[in-house]
Each structure stands twice: as structure tokens, then as C-alpha cells.
């Protein structure tokens, strides 16, 4: 995902030059000091004990995230976890790394600013359905349209957890909440459809009880360049228990995976899903609850990061890579 930081591989103790330079961020390199680096462990990235209710689906998401970080052995200081407000948005407190716990609904623009200014970082964003689809809904659309390079993990529990059981934008019609005591009446958001039409370039769906699948989705989102969103059904045991059982085989449901095309020219492949086909993704998103899981859509449209970088490079070249001082002086000379 990050521009510069390709995963460090799986060597145990690698001694990497500590990035004491702002070169990645457009500056000139400063001194480079060799500071030995341990392999990233779960222990190193674990912070406060989560404050979630016992049994909350979000625990599994956290565990999967730790595992992916460990497996990819990312540079510790380049992991950035961010969130808005909600139970799920408490996430950054439970990860020992650079991070920020922002305001309700605005974490997508926060993360976009970080990603654009510092393409060398690995930007991970976490949040809930209310945070992402309601108060932050417009930012989701525009982050997707602009294809800012980041991973956005949405823990969808069909309810407002932190504020104790109000209707959420993904609550199904009929859900009885404190704000809809006789059952929700408003049409819920269909996250997959919304993300496809908004222009996100990696869109996947998973389930918090399916840890292997969840990890696979996180890794694929991480490897994708662009606005990568994962919707994860993550049960709120407190305010909407058992709602995702229909997709949990251990509870008698079925976890139906999307079969992606292998491009192997077999007749079976005809029936498989082409992840680059928007209309096909839209059709999958129409399936009745609990629907299917896996990658709905993926395309390699250029990221905003890359487009801005290109603009910078062409503009800088036109100025003959003049220094900041020369540039501003030239501008002022024209104003004399």
C-alpha cells in the first residue's frame, strides 16, 4: 500500500536504516543513522487492553490486524492507525503505533491528508457503520472518487454501539432500536453498491468470525494501490446480538465466498466473478442478506497520490528544479 515501504520480507532481525530523512516526503535527505531493528511482534504493537464488551466482534478484527502487521513485518514507525468516533473507532488506542483518534465521521479526510502529505506511511483507518456511512458518508464518496491511497476497515454492526442502540444507516427495515421503537422504516445503505458507484478501487466484504478470510482481505487491501475499503460484519453482542449468524457456519449459517475468475479459459471460469466488472459487482451487491463475501471490485485507476506526484514532478521540471527561495523571488520579481 505505501509508496515507498514495500513489506520488509520475513527475515528475522533485519537492520534497516532508520528513516531519519524526509526524502520520501519531498525533502532532502538528512543524516542516516543505523539503528538495529527487531522483527515486529504482536507484543510490540499491542497497547491498552480493549474496552469493548466481552464477545464484541471487533476483538477478532484487532487480532487479525495484529497478525497481518506481524506477517508483513512493517516498519513500526510507519504504521499509522486512525479512526473517528464509535466503539469500533476506539481501535487506535489498542494498537501501539503512531495514530490518532479523531472526530466522528471525519477520519477519511484526516487519513487522506496524511496519505497525500506522507506517501511513505502505511495509513490504516478503522470505523463503524454510523461513522462511515452516515455522518462521514460524503467523505467516503469523495475519498473513493479521488482514490486516495489508504486502507479503510469498516466494522459494520448494523447499529450505533457507542451511543447504545440507535438505528444506524445499515440497520435493516424493522430493526427495533431506541430511536425506532416500532422498527426502522428507512431504507438502509447498501455499502457495496455505494462504494462501487462512488469509485473506490478495492471493495471487499468479510465477517469477523472468519479470521482467515478477514486476514486475506486485509492483506489484499494493503497490497492494493488506492482507496481500499473492507466492510466487515462485526457483531455488537450488546445491542444487536446474533444478527450475523446467517453468515456464520458455526451458528448454522453459510459463509458464501465470491468465486473470482482465474482467467484459465475453462467453462467454469465463465461463471466466475470478474472483479474489474462494475456491473457484476453491483449485481453481487443486490443479493439478499447475508449475501456473499470476498472481493467485489478492484481496479488499477491511478491514485490521487500518484496524480499529484506527477503534477509536482512536471511542474518542478518546468521550473528547472529551482530552490524555494528562487521560486518565490521570481514570483515577486514579476510583481514589481
Amino acid at each position: 500500500m505505501s509508496d515507498e515501504t514495500k513489506p520488509n520480507g520475513s527475515g528475522d532481525t533485519s537492520s534497516v536504516a532508520a528513516a531519519v530523512s524526509a526524502a520520501d516526503a519531498g525533502g532532502t535527505p538528512a543524516t542516516t543513522i543505523e539503528i538495529p531493528r527487531e522483527k515486529l511482534t504482536k507484543k510490540a504493537i499491542t497497547a491498552d487492553h480493549p474496552t469493548w464488551c466481552p464477545g464484541c466482534g471487533d476483538f477478532a478484527v484487532l487480532a487479525s490486524f495484529y497478525k497481518v502487521l506481524e506477517k508483513r513485518n512493517l516498519d513500526h514507525e510507519k504504521i499509522v492507525t486512525l479512526a473517528g468516533i464509535g466503539c469500533s473507532s476506539r481501535f487506535p488506542y489498542f494498537v501501539n503505533g503512531h495514530g490518532a483518534h479523531f472526530i466522528h465521521g471525519r477520519a477519511v479526510p484526516l487519513a487522506s491528508g496524511i496519505s497525500l502529505a506522507r506517501p511513505d506511511l502505511n495509513v490504516f483507518l478503522f470505523g463503524g457503520d454510523g461513522d462511515g456511512f452516515s455522518i462521514g458518508g460524503n467523505h467516503l464518496n469523495h475519498g473513493a472518487r479521488k482514490n486516495v491511497n489508504l486502507v479503510y476497515f469498516i466494522m459494520d454492526n448494523f447499529v450505533y454501539g457507542l451511543t447504545k442502540k440507535q438505528t444506524s444507516p445499515t440497520s435493516p427495515i424493522g430493526f427495533k432500536s431506541k430511536t425506532d421503537p416500532t422498527g426502522a422504516i428507512d431504507q438502509p445503505v447498501n455499502p457495496m453498491k455505494q462504494l462501487v458507484s462512488a469509485g473506490a478501487t478495492f471493495i471487499a466484504r468479510t465477517h469477523a468470525t472468519q479470521v482467515k478470510h478477514m486476514m486475506e482481505m486485509i492483506e489484499r487491501a494493503f497490497d492494493h494501490q488506492g482507496f481500499s475499503v473492507i466492510e466487515c460484519l462485526s457483531e455488537c453482542v450488546e445491542f444487536y446480538p446474533d444478527v450475523f449468524d446467517p453468515a456464520d457456519p458455526r451458528k448454522g449459517g453459510s459463509f458464501e465466498l465470491i468465486q473470482e475468475k482465474k482467467w484459465d479459459n475453462t467453462p467454469e471460469d465463465e461463471l466466475r466473478h470478474d472483479v474489474t466488472d462494475e456491473l457484476a459487482a453491483y449485481k453481487l451487491a443486490q443479493l439478499p442478506f447475508p449475501g456473499v463475501f470476498g472481493v467485489f471490485y478492484q481496479s488499477d485507476r491511478p491514485t490521487k497520490n500518484a496524480l499529484e506526484k506527477k503534477w509536482i514532478e512536471t511542474t518542478r521540471a518546468k521550473t528547472g528544479n529551482a530552490s524555494d527561495l528562487e521560486l518565490l523571488q521570481k514570483t515577486f520579481d514579476r510583481m514589481k
Binding site: 524526509a22 483518534h101 472526530i103 477520519a107 479526510p109 487522506s112 491528508g113 460524503n138
Partner: protein, 646 residues
């Protein structure tokens, strides 16, 4: 025009139709002047602003002091528009209350603006469109068929487009302006485009310059030459440009915004310029996003800027509170306009001061600075960046419509001394506490290794020294005090402002923001009339600088002059704060809310009720009145505030 104030101009009055034969007087000797206020009044599509800007830039290039004032219609399709330029050989403090020289393109321009022409002033009018009241003997009338002559000069195809440049030629002749420099400026401005545009402009200019205007006036004028001792070259720009370039000089390389009048041109400059410096300015989907993006950029180690006008700042306030709580450096520009709500989008007001200082839920300390002049827009940006970085805090820069839209010439900044190296500091730290109780927070951006393995979390929940949430009452008290104490530290770090005029005496005028010019001009004029008066201008408004408490006892009266409402308790926004801070009952308040900049005369009339130091000119027929907001005046406001904008 010039001093003494009554240059005794006589002119041959010429009716619009008749072409009176006059003797050739092209050998008129120019009279030396040191100050002139020229007002061009027409419609926005006539290119009034372009002609005015040429005058301003020429004055800047000739090392004259210059200040302009303009109104832009809020409707794009046209409507009345003016450009006023004041050119002086000495210090020009304000754009001028009255015009010495009025150019009227239309009958409505004449009607609306004749009231601004001083007695004895020259009305130059387009005799194809304007019929002035020649019986009013207070003014000198010069009628020239501007439209017809322009069409003639340009061969008819361009219709009357080019009138503005024709008039520029006329003015150049009358004021002995440097013709070659003007032509060079035109080539710079129109060059690069279609060559025929440059040629047309030069044709129009030459026609205007060649017109025998000397036959109509008994005098031509010439600005006194001034030698600025060791002066730096002058550069000419508007306040929004100065603000944007100030940010660039201050090392701001990233930012985000959403368009709104009168802030937009700041973000337009930044969007265009930043890539040259390796930076990015994002046009976001709204102000909630733009402030959040800018906070993200700042968090990442690059001090970033966002900005807007009142409506957009209102949307940003929740996130600004977060920056205050999480102690993230950030610059927020508010180019103020008339409010509340959509208010007066193209008029000036200083009514967002309390919003800047207090606008948030909770106790959320932030710094508030205000630019005094166009030049100061440049330097205030540098000061804002210094403070934001050193104190890890959001910093507001207040500007306003009048600074944003007017052009001034000022000494070229010494960039080699000023420019700041903006790179994020990613050096590895042995250990790092983001919120130490006994120190000012120093933001450490992601990408910096923390060798003891404990990484910082920036938090909007009340937190402990490591950024982890806490509900402890003791910690909330300690952290609230920590966030506020750094502003007290900052107050020790800013100089007490100097007093202009008398350092002690009867009256002290206190101002902030764009009222600097008229307030200082008012002090100058009142002192000429023997008043013991001084002016104190605040650039740092929150926190206030130390030492003001020592200034108040030196004056009998303290009058705060500002463009906002006197409010429920009778005091303007700064006056309210000063009264609360100093419990100084001497502090009085002069306010107004007509959406127009203060005139010098208006200040003097309000401060010295009963006495009038301004020359008292009857203003019969003046459609636009500036004083007060009495109902009969408010209706005239419509004529300068085009309706129907969103």
C-alpha cells in the same frame, strides 16, 4: 489631490455634444502634487479593475506609495463596480475618503459617486453616456466621448471594449505617468495571449494618451519624485496574494480548502503554486473535510493551512477543537465578510473575532492573529507559522474583504532572511511523551522511530501524558491548564505594540485588522488639529500581548474602533474582550455594520462627537451614504451590495 487641499482648478466646461474649438495648450506645465485619489466608476465588465490595477502597479514601480479600494459585484454578469486608487509620494495609510478625480462611465456611476468627489475635484465623464448637472458649481467637468473615441480608435470591431484602457491613457496624460512603463506593464499582462490583444490595448491606450485633454483642463499634474533612502524595490499585490505568498515563505507546503468569497483566491494561488515547491493543496468536498485533511497533513509533520470565510469556518469548528485538544499545529485563515449566515458575501465586516477566539465547544485554547494591511498579510502568515510550530497549536489568521480585494505596493520582503525550511523532523527519539504536563507539547510525526517502543496517540478524548484516554477529574484539570498555559507563555513571547502618534494624551484609538489605515489617518488628521491622540493596533489578539495594562493609564479616553455590532451590551467584539480582560471602564466602543470600510471622517465624527475635523462637504445627490445604518441609509446599501448571491 495634492496639498494644499484646494488646488484651484478651473476648466473649460464642455457640453457633451458641442465640440468647442479651444486653443492648443499642449504646453501646459504640470503642477507638482504628492497625493491623489482617483476613482473609476462603471460596470464590472468594463474592466475597471484591470485599469485600476495597472495604475496601482505603475505607482508601485515608480516607488510611489499606493493603496486601492474596490468593490466587486457579487453577481458575475456585471453590475456596478468601482476601483479607487490612491497614489502618494508619502505614506499612504488609507484608500481615501473622497476622490479628487472621478471617472464616470455611466449615468448611474455619476449619480452614485459624485457624492464622493470632493469640492473642487474633477469629474471626467463619458459624454456619450453621462449627462451631469453642470449647474452644480462645486466640481470641474471634463466631458469626453469615451465610448465613441474608443470604438473609433479600435476600428469598430472591438465595440467599446477597451474603454478602460482608453481612460488609462487619459489618466496617464493628466498625471504625467510614465507612458513607457505602462505600455510595458500592458505587454506583461496581455502578452502570451493572442498578439492582437496586446495591440488593441496599446491602440486604445495611445488614443487616450493622445487626446488633447490639456484643452479641457487648465492644469496637468505630476507626482513629486521621492527618493526612498535605501528603500527596497516595491512589489504590488492584493491581500489574498500576500497571504498565500506569506504562507509559502513560512514553509507551508500543504493545505486544503473549499471555495467561498472572499477566501477563494488564496486557495487558488496555493493550488497553483504549491506543486512548484513539492507540495499539495487539496480542493475538498466541503469545509469539514478540508480542515480534517489539513489536520492530517499537519499531523504528518508538514504544518498545513486551511481557510474559509464565516460560513465555512463555522463548519470547521469541531475539528479545530480537536486540534486544540490533540495539540496539533495548524493555520486557519478566515477572510471575513459580512455575517451571520450567508450575510453580505462581498462586503467587509470584522464580526468573526469572537468566533475565532471562542468558536468551539469546551475550553479550547487557540491563537488569533489579525493582519493590518496588505503587506501585513504576508508577515502575519510567517508569524502564524512560527507560533503554530513552536506552541503546537491551531492559529487563526483573520483577514477581511477589504484586505483581500485591495492592491497595495510595499517593500519587497527580504526572502533570504525570511524563508523557512519546512521539512518534518523524523529523527528517531529515545522516548516521547506527546502531552507532558510540565512542558509545551512538541508534535512528533509518524515515521519518527520511538526507540523505547512506546508510540504516541493523538487524542480528542481527555488523555494522559501518553495520549491514552482518562476520565480522571484531576487529569482533566491538569490538561486543561496545560493547554491554556502555553498561551500564557506565548504572551511573554510577543512584543507590546508601539503607539502611533502621541504616546500619552487625551485619546487612544484601539484597532485590529484592516481598520489600521483609516484609524492611523484619523490620528494624523486629529493631531493636525491639535488633539493629543494616539493609535494602538493589535496584531496578536489572543492571547493579548503583555504590557497593555501600562498603556491605558496614559490616556483619558480609550476608544476601540471596529467593524462589527455594538451588541446587546453596547460594545464591539474587541472592546468587549478588552473590558473583560482589564476591567477598564474608560474603554469605549465605536462600531458600524454597513459593510463598508471606515472612512477617516466617520471615525473622527464618532470619536469626537460634535467636532468635525473632516472638511464638511454638502453631499446632496449622493446616493450612497456611509455613516450609520439608519433605515433611510440602509436602502441605499442595495446599490453597492448587489442582491441575489448565495
Amino acid at each position: 489631490m495634492g496639498e494644499p487641499n484646494n488646488p484651484d482648478i478651473t476648466a473649460v466646461q464642455q457640453s457633451a455634444a458641442a465640440n468647442v474649438q479651444v486653443p492648443d495648450r499642449a504646453d501646459l506645465r504640470p503642477e507638482n502634487i504628492n497625493d491623489a485619489v482617483i476613482r473609476l466608476a462603471g460596470n464590472s465588465q468594463d474592466g475597471i479593475q484591470t485599469a485600476g490595477a495597472f495604475l496601482a502597479r505603475l505607482a508601485g514601480r515608480s516607488a510611489q506609495d499606493v493603496m486601492t479600494y474596490m468593490t466587486i459585484p457579487a453577481t458575475i454578469s456585471g453590475g456596478p463596480s468601482i476601483f479607487q486608487v490612491r497614489i502618494g509620494s508619502g505614506e499612504v495609510l488609507s484608500a481615501g475618503d473622497e476622490a479628487d478625480f472621478l471617472v464616470a462611465f455611466y449615468q448611474h456611476s455619476y449619480h452614485d459617486h459624485i457624492g464622493f468627489l470632493r469640492e473642487g475635484g474633477v469629474l471626467l465623464y463619458d459624454s456619450d453616456n453621462v449627462e451631469p448637472d453642470l449647474d452644480d458649481k462645486r466640481f470641474v467637468y471634463v466631458g469626453i466621448p469615451i465610448t465613441g473615441l474608443t470604438v473609433e480608435a479600435l476600428g469598430g470591431t472591438a465595440k467599446d471594449k477597451g474603454k478602460n484602457i482608453f481612460v488609462l491613457g487619459l489618466i496617464a496624460k493628466i498625471f504625467h505617468l510614465d507612458q513607457e512603463k505602462l505600455v510595458a506593464l500592458m505587454k506583461e499582462k496581455f502578452g502570451g495571449k493572442d498578439e492582437s490583444i496586446v495591440n488593441t490595448a496599446i491602440m486604445a491606450f495611445t488614443a487616450g494618451y493622445a487626446y488633447p485633454v490639456g484643452n479641457l483642463l487648465t492644469k496637468l499634474y505630476q507626482f513629486e519624485k521621492i527618493d526612498k533612502p535605501g528603500g527596497r524595490a516595491q512589489i504590488t499585490m492584493d491581500g489574498n496574494q500576500a497571504l498565500a505568498y506569506g504562507l509559502l515563505a513560512a514553509g507551508v507546503r500543504f493545505g486544503a480548502g473549499y471555495p467561498i468569497t472572499p477566501w477563494s483566491s488564496v486557495m487558488e494561488v496555493l493550488r497553483r503554486e504549491l506543486p512548484k515547491y513539492g507540495g499539495i493543496f487539496v480542493q475538498a468536498e466541503d469545509e469539514l473535510a478540508s480542515v480534517s485533511i489539513a489536520i492530517g497533513m499537519s499531523y504528518s509533520g508538514w504544518l498545513a493551512v486551511t481557510g474559509s470565510a464565516g460560513p465555512g469556518i463555522s463548519l470547521k469548528t469541531e475539528a479545530i477543537g480537536w486540534a486544540s485538544m490533540a495539540e496539533i499545529p495548524l493555520i486557519i485563515c478566515n477572510v471575513q465578510r459580512g455575517g451571520p449566515s450567508t450575510g453580505l458575501p462581498t462586503n467587509v465586516e470584522q464580526s468573526d473575532l469572537h468566533q475565532a477566539i471562542f468558536g468551539s465547544h469546551g475550553d479550547s485554547p487557540r491563537v488569533v492573529l489579525a493582519a493590518a494591511t496588505v503587506e501585513d498579510c504576508f508577515y502575519i502568515a510567517i508569524e502564524a507559522a512560527r507560533i503554530a510550530r513552536k506552541y503546537s497549536t491551531p492559529v487563526f489568521i483573520l483577514s477581511d474583504t477589504s484586505l483581500a480585494t485591495r492592491i497595495e505596493a510595499f517593500d519587497e520582503p527580504d526572502l533570504a532572511k525570511i524563508m523557512v525550511d519546512p521539512k518534518p523532523d523524523l529523527t528517531a527519539r529515545q522516548t516521547h511523551k506527546p502531552y507532558p504536563l510540565d512542558q509545551i507539547t512538541q508534535h512528533v510525526p509518524p515515521g519518527a522511530r520511538i526507540l523505547d517502543g512506546k508510540y504516541p496517540l493523538m487524542s480528542g478524548l481527555e488523555h494522559d501524558e501518553m495520549g491514552h484516554p482518562t476520565g480522571s477529574p484531576k487529569m482533566h484539570m491538569a490538561m486543561t491548564a496545560k493547554r491554556r498555559n502555553k498561551l500564557r507563555k506565548l504572551a511573554d513571547d510577543i512584543p507590546t505594540p508601539e503607539i502611533y502618534g502621541d504616546e500619552q494624551g487625551d485619546t487612544l484609538l484601539v484597532g485590529w485588522g484592516s481598520t489600521y489605515g483609516p484609524i492611523h489617518d484619523a490620528v494624523k488628521r486629529a493631531r493636525e488639529h491639535g488633539e493629543k491622540i494616539g493609535a494602538l493596533h493589535l496584531r496578536h489578539i489572543h492571547p493579548l500581548p503583555n504590557g497593555l495594562e501600562k498603556i491605558w493609564p496614559k490616556f483619558k479616553r480609550i476608544v476601540v474602533v471596529e467593524m462589527n455590532d455594538a451588541g446587546v451590551y453596547g460594545y464591539g467584539q474587541l472592546a468587549t474582550i478588552l473590558r473583560a480582560r482589564y476591567c477598564e471602564s474608560k474603554i469605549e466602543s465605536v462600531t458600524k455594520t454597513d459593510g463598508l470600510t471606515f472612512r477617516v471622517k466617520e471615525i473622527l465624527e464618532n470619536v469626537f462627537k460634535g467636532k468635525t475635523y473632516a472638511r464638511n462637504i454638502p453631499r446632496d445627490g449622493a446616493a450612497v451614504e456611509h455613516h450609520g445604518t439608519a433605515p433611510e441609509n440602509v436602502k441605499h446599501l442595495k446599490e453597492v451590495v448587489p442582491q441575489g448571491v448565495g
